[in-house]
């Protein structure tokens, strides 16, 4: 039974509990310093993504004005670089990237039902190319790097000058404009997010968690599933960038992003804990995996039928698994709570 007196006591107890509650995870003095590092490094990464997206937009326009081989090559290169720029900062799964499903806008994947292909086919069948606004209002399957990949690499686009046709070119331009708009907004919003990020302790855990999740996704979804190492049979269509056979280039970019964007802040935390060796080991592992990936052939799907290439990919898979394990250990060392519900609720 609840009496008024008990309720008063409750109120007092509550105040005490609130005071206690502020002393929780990762509350040491170095945590804000780490977030300062991270905020700056991520800001640079979003800046690089914005720059690369603008280059891609310009490159698409250039190609549409003059569909030369040189312009096509440059377009393909700019598309790949922009996608890699996104991959390098993809581990950030909180903050402005969560607005308007921006991560999905950048890269709709996995695409088990070939929605990207269906969307592109439906746009290509129209009488007029869409505007960037129409793309912004359309499905995430129409908005990102995989949609552009379809236009650049799908078998149906390999006929003479297929991409140079007005509808296809207009569609591609609209997508690149929308992408550049999104990347620009992302960069601006990340700057606005700065005070909140730096001032809120739980983002230390969120950042660690984002990196860990990125490694897990890399291990199980980006490598394990298409390679048939997670229970199902191998299926190259589950790999990212299967149309262009550049899956491994994207993985390399993700590893590079973790190395130069995530690792410095982590090092700050571990140095303060007197565990610099953990950061050094993790950093060395990242470096090895990235270099290994850089030396490998670019596609996951073609490796499924090639023993040597498959073995090399398996090696990468194992290395990524080790990195994931290392970061889990580091997380425990830092008192990170690995939330099942906190990271994937409903």
């Amino acid at each position: 039974m609840m009496t008024p007196r008990l309720f008063k006591q409750l109120g007092r107890l509550g105040l005490a509990a609130l005071t206690l509650a502020s002393a929780s995870l990762l509350a040491d003095d170095t945590s804000p310093q780490a977030r300062e590092h991270w905020h700056q490094a991520i800001e640079q990464r979003y800046g690089a993504l914005n720059d690369a997206s603008e280059r891609l937009e310009a490159s698409a326009e250039r190609f549409c004005n003059n569909a030369s081989d040189a312009h096509r090559q440059r377009l393909t290169r700019d598309w790949m670089e922009a996608w890699q720029a996104w991959q390098a900062v993809r581990f950030v799964d909180f903050g402005p990237i969560e607005q308007n499903s921006r991560a999905w806008q950048m890269q709709f994947w996995p695409d088990r039902k070939n929605l990207v292909g269906r969307k592109m086919q439906s746009w290509l069948a129209r009488e007029e190319a869409p505007t960037a606004e129409q793309i912004a209002e359309d499905s995430v399957a129409s908005q990102g790097f995989p949609a552009l990949e379809y236009l650049l690499f799908d078998d149906s686009m390999q006929g003479t000058d297929a991409l140079a046709q007005p509808i296809a070119c207009g569609l591609m331009s609209a997508i690149t404009t929308h992408l550049a708009d999104t990347a620009g907004a992302l960069q601006r919003d990340w700057q606005r997010f700065g005070d909140h990020y730096r001032g809120t302790q739980s983002y230390t855990t969120a950042t660690l968690h984002g990196a860990l999740l990125a490694l897990e996704t890399l291990e199980t979804k980006r490598l394990g599933e298409p390679m048939g190492l997670t229970g199902g049979s191998a299926n190259g269509y589950l790999a990212e960038a299967w149309r262009s056979e550049r899956s491994v280039r994207l993985i390399e970019a993700s590893l590079r992003g973790l190395e130069d964007t995530f690792l410095p802040g982590l090092r700050t935390l571990l140095n303060a804990r007197g565990k610099p060796e953990l950061a050094a080991e993790f950093g060395a592992g990242l470096d090895r995996a990235r270099q290994g990936a850089a030396e490998m052939a670019a596609g996951v799907a073609p490796a499924l039928d090639d023993r040597d290439r498959f073995r090399a990919l398996q090696g990468l898979y194992v290395q990524v698994g080790q990195l994931r394990h290392q970061l889990e250990t580091i997380g425990r060392e830092l008192g990170m709570v690995r939330g099942f519900n906190s990271s994937d609720g409903d």
Binding site: M2, A21, G339, S342
Partner: protein
Amino acid sequence: MQRRTLLKNGLLGLGAMSLPSLSWGLPGREDAEWLFSAADDAEGRHYIQAFAPGRKQAYRIAVSERCHGGCLRPDSAQAVLFARRPGRSLHVIDGDARAEIRRIDAGDGFHFYGHGVFDADGHHLYVTANRIDDAAGLVRVYDARADYRHLADMPLDGIGPHELRLMPDGQTLAVALGGIRTHPDYGRAKLNLDDMEPALLLMDRRDGEILARHRPSHHQLSCRHLDVGTDGTVVAGYQYQGPEWERRPLIARLSADGDFSEIALPDDLTAELRQYTASIALSRRSPLALVTAPRGHRVLVLDSRHGELLASHDLSDAAGARCDGQGGFLVSSGRGGLYRLGGDGSAPQQIHDLPIRWDNHLT
């Protein structure tokens, strides 16, 4: 008896005229010996976990998909657990047989959102669902006495209904309408964040009439979970879909006489919750509401009459919540612990630990 004592003490602060009938209590959950929850093991396999806190007995049933919320069927040993969005099955568990006795598919073109509730005599089951074609949010009605035959769909004139509960009048459903459009082809991508229309709804369970539609103060405050007190107070939890650096209220309250309001927590605490609440439980014995906030690793206790914050406790990956039958609450953690919070608002005490990840809700 308990209710009368509270009334005598004037603690509920409500006019007697506005109180619903006392003859009907909220069924099941307060006194149920067994609790049920969706859970994963360390390898990511999915289960329905059953646990009896009094006896410290546990068993689990393997299921093919991750489940979410559930409800107990009154006057029976059955519990129903629902596939997690965008899952398509509901699982009927017989607590005596300790087995899944029936699995009902949402049907072509539909998926469930993860929550449901029975009427007071366990005859009809009401389940939130999505009609995938046009993203219409529905309450699907099943006849539990006829092998869970599908009887009817009641449209909510909105997108993304989530948790629903039966009000003490036995006729009204309180429905949290999340407002977020999703499509199974797009996994869990949110497809309409610009033009969401979330709401806390009251629906007549007999004919589907929408009796009230209360809109949160911002269109991106997704109304997701709720519980109802014996006096008819509804407390609902939001998940804010807007910028993380903005501070919005995350808890709403609907009084027994229909006044809708939002509860502002202290700014620092709001920031720590990271725009997210999970489970809501209202005590059956006192005007206490418990809210879990897994992203903030926190459990809040509020006075459900005025919404004031009484306590805020650290609890790693706090997830499910239920009344414990003794005036307090049971709370699960994704890290495996099960905790009891006394009705005095004191800190959670671990009562058991299982090598599993308790999922969002306790039933």
